[in-house]
Structures are given as structure tokens and as C-alpha cells.
């Protein structure tokens, strides 16, 4: 299962999906988050390599969605 971890006030919520069967649903969720101002990062669970993600692909096993960023 691939996951999108969405950060929020009560910790992260996990949206888990099967990339083979639920890609459409996951993409819709991904787009919804993007349109709400979330920044999405792909994190490789093994190497911990991190990339900014603009489009959701099956290969992205774990995506972390963070709310809008501002200067501290």
C-alpha cells in the first residue's frame, strides 16, 4: 500500500491506497490537497531521499502533505 500522510493539528492522517487499483482516488485526493495550498513531498522509505512532488505517480510509496508554509 502507498500512503499520503497529511499533517494537521491532531498529528498526521494517513490516506492509504493500492497503486494498482485506487490510483484515480489517490490522484483526486492529491490534487485536492495541492489545490488547498498543501506542499507535497515524496519521501523514499528506504533511502529517505526527498523530492517536491507535483504529480502523483505509482512509484511514490510515501508522500507527506504539509499545510501552507510561511516565514517564521
Amino acid at each position: 500500500m502507498n500512503t499520503i500522510k497529511i499533517l494537521g493539528s491532531s498529528g498526521d492522517k494517513t490516506f492509504a491506497y493500492n497503486p494498482e487499483t485506487q490510483m484515480e482516488e489517490a490522484t483526486a485526493r492529491f490534487e485536492q490537497l495541492k489545490n488547498s495550498g498543501y506542499t507535497l513531498f515524496g519521501v523514499d522509505p528506504e533511502t529517505k531521499d526527498t523530492t517536491l512532488v507535483d504529480t502523483l505517480f505509482k512509484e511514490q510509496v510515501q508522500v507527506v502533505a504539509v499545510p501552507r508554509i510561511s516565514g517564521g
Binding site: M1, K5, I6, L7, G8, S9, S10, G11, D12, K13, T14, F15, A16, Q32, G37, T39, F41, V43, T47, K48, D49, T50, T51, L52, V64, V66, P67, R68, I69, S70, G71, G72
Partner: protein, 260 residues
């Protein structure tokens, strides 16, 4: 029509469904109750004490039950009860239930349907925030109530912060994790130089964002998450992820001041 079924514990599959349902329910708002095809779901323990209530897609629920029938779901003494959505909702009842019996949980997008008392004397919004946050707390078991000076339930925030800390650590490499554990810092080498993120525990769970906790080129700078009430470790996680993936954007986003 009610469907009752006993299971002994939430296995991963069912937990995922509950998570998904929570997210969906929040987004769908109270209107979702009247929408056909969505069911109201109660999760109770063996004493009939309600642990969790949410809305779930009927198909997802039936999938879970099918898996249960085939022996895919392990266990127990919890009961899941599902019924078609009720036609109306008493917001008064929800907020008082959430205030006095935090095990009873409702998951709603409250911004779309604020409580009538939401804007009175600063008392209402806190209550709304509590209603939302309890949902997560219940997944980890009933929270013990302990009010802080500001009337908020610190154990819940502490749980959120612990959860955020776990995710933060999950996203670090071994060497970064080692550094974090020993020195409470995470150092990241990038094309535009070295960044050192200083981590300070939010011991009391007040959720204050960090301030100027990143050191880069002799400057202290900081970028935080715009939404309020976010666990501090979520800010740290965002900083680390953004620095690793696009350090220039981090510098653009961050306010900086010179170290004297």
C-alpha cells in the same frame, strides 16, 4: 437497518478504513449525513461504550465485513454498528458530548457548519477544535483529561506531538537520526550550503511554532506552517523536507536575521 458485527481488534485494514472515513467525513461536512450511500458507523467496546463514530462509504464497509467473514480481520470484543445516515443532527449534543465524554467522537468539518456558540467569548472555537482533535485521540484509546491553564486538553496535544515526532524521525536518515538523538539538531548539506535545524521539544504541548531555529550562512532563519495549532514536530518535519528537496525555496520562504 442496522448491521452489528463483533471483531476482536482493529487490524491494519480496518484502521485504514476508519482513517479514510475520518478524512472523508471531515471534508464532506454535515451534508454528508443526508447523502445516500454513506453510512454512519459506531465503534463500541465490549461494554457497549462508544469509542468512535464516523461516516464511511457503504462499499468500503461491506469490503471490510467481507474480509472479516473470510477470517481476514483478526479478533474481538469491539462492535461495529452501521446504519444509514440520520436525517438531522443536534450540534448542541455533539459539543457537550465531546466536552464531557471525550470517548464519544464525531468527525465533522466544523468550519462549514459552525456551532451557534462558536464565536461567543472565545469559548466556542476551543470547543470546536476539541471536537475535531478528539477523533484522532480515540484511535489511540481514551485520553485522560487534564486541563492546562488555558482550558485545552494537553494530553491530546501531547499525543498529536508524539505522533508528529514519530513521523519526523521516520523521515530522517540513520545519521540524521543519530545526530537528532544526541544533539537535538539535524544538519543537512545542500548545494547552497549547510543548514542546521535545531529541535526543541514542545514539552507542554502548547503547539507554539519554532522561532529562528535554522542556522544557515551565519543567519538564523525560520519557515513555519501557516495553520495554527500544528504540533511543533510538524514544523520541523516541513523544514527538513523543504531544505532537502529545495533549499533555495526554504531560504525564499524563511525570514532571516543576522546572528550577532
Amino acid at each position: 437497518m442496522m448491521v452489528g458485527i463483533d471483531i476482536s481488534q482493529f487490524d491494519e485494514f480496518l484502521t485504514e478504513i476508519i482513517h479514510q472515513a475520518s478524512v472523508e467525513a471531515q471534508n464532506m461536512a454535515v451534508r454528508a449525513m443526508r447523502q445516500t450511500g454513506r453510512w454512519e458507523v459506531d465503534v463500541s467496546n465490549s461494554q457497549g461504550y462508544r469509542l468512535h463514530q464516523t461516516f464511511i462509504d457503504r462499499n468500503l464497509f461491506e469490503q471490510a465485513m467481507e474480509q472479516h467473514r473470510q477470517g481476514g480481520l483478526v479478533v474481538t470484543n469491539h462492535t461495529i454498528r452501521a446504519s444509514p445516515p440520520t436525517p438531522s443532527i443536534d450540534m448542541d449534543e455533539i459539543s457537550s458530548a465531546a466536552m464531557y465524554t471525550p470517548d464519544i467522537v464525531e468527525c465533522y468539518e466544523l468550519r462549514e457548519m459552525p456551532h451557534p456558540r462558536a464565536y461567543m467569548g472565545g469559548y466556542g472555537p476551543r470547543m470546536m477544535q476539541h471536537v475535531v482533535s478528539t477523533t484522532e485521540a480515540v484511535l489511540d484509546g481514551p485520553p485522560d483529561l487534564d486541563m492546562d491553564y488555558f482550558g485545552s486538553y494537553t494530553p491530546i496535544k501531547r499525543k498529536a506531538n508524539t505522533k508528529a515526532r514519530e513521523l519526523f524521525m521516520e523521515c530522517l536518515t540513520e545519521s540524521e537520526l543519530e545526530e537528532f538523538k544526541n544533539f537535538s539538531t539535524v544538519t543537512i548539506r545542500t548545494k547552497i550550503g549547510l543548514f542546521r535545524v535545531e529541535i526543541q521539544d514542545d514539552e507542554f504541548g502548547h503547539g507554539d511554532p519554532p522561532a529562528y531555529n535554522v542556522i544557515h550562512n551565519d543567519n538564523r532563519c525560520c519557515a513555519i506552517l501557516g495553520s495554527g495549532g500544528i504540533p511543533r514536530y510538524d514544523h520541523y518535519l516541513m523544514q527538513v523536507l523543504l531544505i532537502k528537496s529545495n533549499p533555495s525555496r526554504f531560504v525564499e520562504e524563511a525570514n532571516a536575521r543576522r546572528i550577532r
